[in-house]
């Protein structure tokens, strides 16, 4: 590391730390208002289409036909556990050695360091949250009360949905508000059958089509982005050259670039945020160039921290000053605490012997969804909160592989249809706890000399009870639908593989117990905003990304108004 270098040329109106799902939205919204915006990304640039090296490859074109070489697996025991990490996608994941961290308890931290971040890798489910989620902590007595309600964010959900492009049905469910939808993906015979069975047997349980960020009926606004209809390739984690699904790379980042107001700086590892005690606000960020290791300061009137939940915690914790010795804005002492995630441990599978004269054709980048039905209107179980679940049915082929020679070959060439198989996985809400934390390790440093993050997240008794309930309830539902050979499984996987880590910089009404106000603004440092997963007060049972997008657009709108009023 060399001397600080700082000039007037490093002055911007706004700085965005991170270019993933929420950082991309911050960049788009800030530049829309004419703000000269610097977007800092610690990884390399990934340009839409041209930097998707495997985006148009067929499986047989891969050196190992998509299988991971042993050397890569052995060198990357953590990221190799991720379902989307294979020969076609390794270039979009952080390798274990690239950014070490401390696992105080087992935690599989899955990251994407490049322009676009994990928006190239996400599973693209975009369910809105409802008041059952925003009111949860106040009603159930965990975490702290959210400072917002559904009505505060509903128009912003609509705003981001229209631009991103979301497909789904208007299902009219109070616990899963409808949005601005393009036509839904199709259900298959068995999914449709299960939907009807559940509807006839339960008043409060629904099987619906998943809502997801795929263009099924692209509108003008999507063509203007250069995006086209989803082609059902289901190789989304390689980057979609069609822009069929929402990613920062295909959508918000190029949109921001078109304004001429954005400066994108890849290879920029943010070390900390600079706090000026005389001015009583943040003035900029310290950046380590990933290639030269040289440190530079960049300045701006407002700063959006969108480094992805845990790295946002890290940046704030590492931003110390006389005023904030325990991390920027951390008067309450809750920075890095109350982190939580989603419980994906439990699955259930079965077989169905109906519809043997029917099959599916093509591929679908989505699947049906069963919204939370436990403890929605009142507390009815011995655990807090609940779980949503995915559901899907499919039919595979079967081949006799006995013998060798011409007979074996003939069998391989003539597969026969097997039966239908069905499966569900739970997505349970974990309860944010004070002792569920991320902190800076006092001794260990990363390759840039920044303290390593020590992660301490864990399942508790509430999670175990929820897993048991999921298995019981779904066994009952599967049995009622006539599914056979029901098998329940608990993967016992560590937190992290869900890739839904949230919290640590939570929103709240009271500065004594939270970090951010209802505008995602640091209570104690008003020109710094956090709008990624770190800001989440609780985790709900819905996928979080859509909420990050809506919170970001809303916070930028507020920040710009405040700047105009000279309040920032």
């Amino acid at each position: 590391m060399t001397i600080l270098e700082s000039t007037a040329a490093n002055q911007y109106d706004a700085i965005v730390v991170g270019s993933g799902i929420s950082g991309g939205w911050a960049a788009k919204e800030l530049t829309k208002h004419g703000l000269r915006t610097l977007v800092l990304e610690r990884g390399r640039d990934v340009k839409h289409v041209t930097d998707y090296p495997t985006g148009m490859m067929s499986p047989w074109e891969f050196e190992h036909r998509t299988q991971l070489p042993l050397e890569i697996k052995e060198a990357n025991p953590i990221v190799s556990k991720c379902y989307a990490f294979y020969e076609g996608s390794t270039h979009f994941f952080v390798k274990d050695a690239e950014h070490p961290y401390v696992q105080e308890k087992p935690f599989d931290w899955i990251r994407g360091y490049q322009v676009g971040g994990k928006s190239l890798l996400w599973a693209r489910q975009t369910q809105r949250w409802s008041d059952f989620d925003f009111e949860g902590p106040a009603r159930d007595g965990f975490a702290v009360d959210w400072p917002i309600r559904y009505a505060d964010i509903a128009p912003w959900y609509s705003y981001v949905e229209k631009f991103a492009g979301i497909s789904g049905n208007k299902d009219g469910l109070p616990n899963l508000p409808d949005g601005e939808f393009q036509k839904p993906h199709e259900m298959n015979c068995v999914e449709d059958y299960f939907q009807k069975q559940i509807a006839s047997k339960y008043k409060d349980r629904n099987v619906i089509q998943g809502r997801c960020a795929h263009l099924t009926e692209p509108k003008d606004i999507h063509f203007q982005q250069g995006r086209a209809q989803c082609q059902h390739r289901t190789i989304c984690e390689r980057g979609c050259p069609f822009g069929g699904y929402f990613s920062s790379n295909a959508s918000t980042i190029p949109w921001a670039a078109k304004t001429g107001k954005m400066t994108l700086r890849p290879h920029s590892v943010v070390h900390s945020i600079i706090y000026d005690e005389k001015k009583g606000k943040a003035t900029g960020v310290r950046v380590i160039d990933a290639n030269t290791k040289k440190m530079t300061e960049y300045y701006a009137r407002i700063i959006f921290v969108n480094a992805a939940a845990l790295n946002t915690n890290l940046v704030l914790l590492n931003s110390t000053s006389n005023r904030f010795p325990n991390g920027l804005g951390n008067d309450s002492g809750v920075l890095g605490k109350y982190v939580a995630f989603h419980n994906y441990r439990a699955t259930i599978s079965a077989e169905y012997d109906g519809f043997l004269d029917m099959k599916t054709e093509g591929r679908r980048p989505n699947s049906p969804y069963i919204p939370r039905f436990r403890n929605v209107h009142k507390q009815e179980t011995n655990f807090l909160r609940g779980y949503a679940a995915g559901f899907n049915a499919g039919r595979g082929t079967y081949t006799n592989q006995d013998g060798i020679g011409a007979d074996l070959k003939k069998n391989l060439m003539n597969p026969s249809w097997g039966g239908w198989h069905v499966g569900s996985h739970m997505m349970g809400e974990t309860i944010p706890k004070e002792n569920s934390t991320v902190q800076l390790d006092p001794n260990k440093k990363d390759p840039f000399g920044i303290p390593q993050l020590a992660i301490n997240m864990f399942y508790d008794d509430n999670d175990e009870k929820m897993i048991k309930d999921f298995h019981e309830q779904f066994t009952e539902m599967y049995t009622a639908a006539g599914f056979k050979n029901i098998r329940t499984r608990d993967s016992k996987q560590a937190p992290g593989l869900d890739i839904h880590e949230m919290g640590g910089v939570r929103m709240g009404k009271d500065p004594k117990t939270s970090m951010l106000n209802k505008w995602n603004q640091l209570h104690a440092c008003k020109n710094v905003f956090v709008t990624d997963g770190a800001s989440m007060t609780s985790t709900s049972t819905q996928n979080p990304s859509l909420t990050y997008m809506a919170l970001t657009a809303r916070a930028v709108d507020y920040a710009v108004k405040e700047m105009k009023k000279q309040n920032l």
Partner: protein, 166 residues
Amino acid sequence: MAAAFGGLLSLPSWAQQWTPETVAGSPLLSALEESTLADLAETIIPETDIPGAKSLGVPAYIQKIVNDCMDTKAQETLKNGLYTVSDLAQKSSGGKTFSGMDTNQRLNFLNQLNAGADEETKDFFKLVKSLTIRGFTTSEYFQTNINHYQLVPGFYHGCVPVSTGK
């Protein structure tokens, strides 16, 4: 300039790392083992009116996967197994190599091998057979002609009568 073109020193650094192994295929197998493996795969999935293992590049696939994606134990199983096959083939056929046998002799030999009591040989045969099947069914020929793989299907139909073919 002229001197630079003349001597060994002018070879680019990557070329100086050439060894007989890296230039001639897999570092794992000898030429004899390679041809035995190729004939084994071809016996398991032979050429008929459509291509067999050899013409679809299955032997090279097997070497690649065992070498790059599998552990040392699997690599030893493959190498030792190929040696055993060569050895047993010569003993049982009065000096013929496995490759020197005709199709029926190869089939009989492999069936006997698989029916035998030696666990190591059975493991070897299981490995080669499963990789031959995988190499065949993941080949471009199989994927496009039999599996009707499309990189860009563009659709999903959830309820199609099985009788519509494909």
